[in-house]
Point group: C2
Chain length 329, copies 2
């Protein structure tokens, strides 16, 4: 039988004060230095620590930040999540991480769930940035969006995806590629992502012959999607909308005995740490994950600390050329 925990009333009893006074004292409010000391001592003595749930119910705050990821199977999003967790910890906050598994319906459910959990703020990498519920959500707590812009957020770190896509496609074109397969992450339902649309527009402009397919982030799934792609009408290059997916292309190529980049060029998008370690190194679009983490943490902190001005950080891409894209023969 676990010994019951001390409550605030016991501390009050022990010090001869009211529960209210103890509550204030422990938060360093409204009481004299002397009683504060007394209360602290008694609390330590009794091993008292405020119950976060009760506190959340009464005050509506938790000190937690919600982190809602579109799909945690994506290694890049994993890195992002870990980075943000650590960044927040340095500010004495915790991250509550939820994974929408690429499903917009879950995204909605989880976002609301996090609100109900009284997170002080929400960082989200949205699957469907255009969805209607975001508006309502942004009204009830500070939201920071990463990736795509959401209306009404308290701050956002958006990627200049148009630029990133252009950069990638131009690079491929410059090396002579014309028939290019594009692999984008699978989504449960597919809201038209701005970046996706931009791909076809840009391909048009550059006179490229594009074929779009989807692939899951997980290595096994991505590999099998890539296998289909490479065995059918094989393109000269594959542009993957996430490094995770590009890894699947490597795996499929290996299976099929195809050489990267001699038989097929591969281009990624993210720059995950592992991308530099592959042979050949993955040529990819680098979004500076550390910068994004820092910006997101800064924005959410500002917003929850009552910062009022809406902030927008636009992340510019860099082409990270390694060995996976070659000039077409």
């Amino acid at each position: 039988m676990p010994r019951k925990r001390a409550t605030i009333r016991e501390v009050a009893q022990a010090t001869g004060l009211s529960p209210a006074a103890v509550s204030y004292a422990l938060r360093g409010l409204q009481v004299s230095e002397e009683t504060m000391e007394r209360v602290r001592a008694a609390a330590a003595e009794l091993g008292y620590e405020a119950d976060p749930i009760a506190r959340a119910l009464a005050s509506g705050r938790t000190g937690m930040i919600g982190l809602l990821c579109g799909s945690l199977e994506d290694l890049w999003q994993q890195s992002l999540a870990v980075g943000i967790s650590r960044g927040l910890r340095e500010k004495d906050r915790y991250a509550l991480i939820l994974d929408a598994v690429g499903d917009p319906a879950r995204e909605r459910a989880f976002a609301q769930r996090l609100r109900d959990q009284r997170v002080d703020g929400l960082i989200v990498q949205p699957i469907d940035p255009a969805a209607a519920f975001w508006g309502e959500l942004c009204d009830s707590l500070p939201v920071v969006a990463i990736g795509d812009s959401i209306k009404g957020t308290a701050g956002e770190v958006v990627f200049d995806n148009r630029r990133g896509v252009t950069m990638a496609l131009e690079h491929l074109r410059d090396l002579g590629h014309r028939r290019i397969a594009v692999l984008t992450p699978t989504r449960a339902s597919t809201p038209d992502r701005p970046a996706d649309l931009h791909v076809t527009a840009e391909a048009d402009r550059l006179g490229l012959d594009i074929e779009v397919a989807t692939a899951p982030h997980g290595l096994a799934g991505a590999t099998s999607a890539a296998r289909d792609l490479l065995t059918a009408r094989r393109p000269s290059a594959v542009f993957c909308f996430a490094d995770s997916i590009a890894y699947g292309v490597y795996a499929a190529a290996q299976e099929l005995g195809l050489d990267v980049p001699a038989d097929v060029s591969v281009m990624g998008y993210d720059d995950h740490p592992m991308s530099g370690l592959l042979t050949p190194g993955l040529t990819t679009v680098d979004w500076d994950i550390d910068g994004i983490v820092r910006a997101a943490v800064r924005l959410i902190s500002a917003a929850t600390d009552g910062g009022t001005r809406r902030r927008r950080v636009v992340q510019a891409p860099t082409l990270r050329e390694r060995g996976s894209v070659a000039r077409v023969r």
Copy 2:
């Protein structure tokens, strides 16, 4: 101004029932089919959904499972966390993930924090399985340990680390390696991990010349630790206690112009999905991550659903030979 949410009393009012009845009805308890239907309709009408915080305070349960990771910088633990999250979701539970960052003090603090959050159960990959506070914790909620055994848990998935270590070292010895560097994860303070101890014992038995060093899980950190190792008195093989760390050795070797495995053999421990994709493929000890995930989810579910019997799953390692370990010249 966000419209206030409906409470249970409003639903009660709307149906002409008592709050208690509504509470029961929504959980399918103690009420007639007919009122249940009426309540459901009214709830839907009002957009009512029970507040998880209030519910947690009153009932002491949340439906959440805590997941406490030793160090989320480790890619393998990331995979584990994602896998467990998904596995739990299928059982309509959520995982609350916390990262102890390799620090036993944080491990303690977070474990208690999770208990205070009223998680229904805790899955932990302990840094310091021998610490005293676990006992108290296991008394107050079901705990499942992964990796090393903890006293008093409701279940555990333990790795047969002795066997894994022996397997790895024997493999290296069989290929003629004698001077072997061992790279283990950095810990804030270093409780003597059983596995670590076993390494020196086994090295002794096999007549190997071992040098132990530590490295962080992050690629940058691991790389720099490996660089030091490889520039000093270079061993013929490096045995890393995590694939993440082995990746750092690859990176360092690449920087230094050393060939794996011609100049230095590398052996991992985990089998992360990326390990097969590197060139050469990382020879490693495979713990069957999917099996572990399944077992952990099963155990914690059983334990929280009032399962009483203590369960112990011992995970056996498999040597996954790829190309990173060569016969010594």
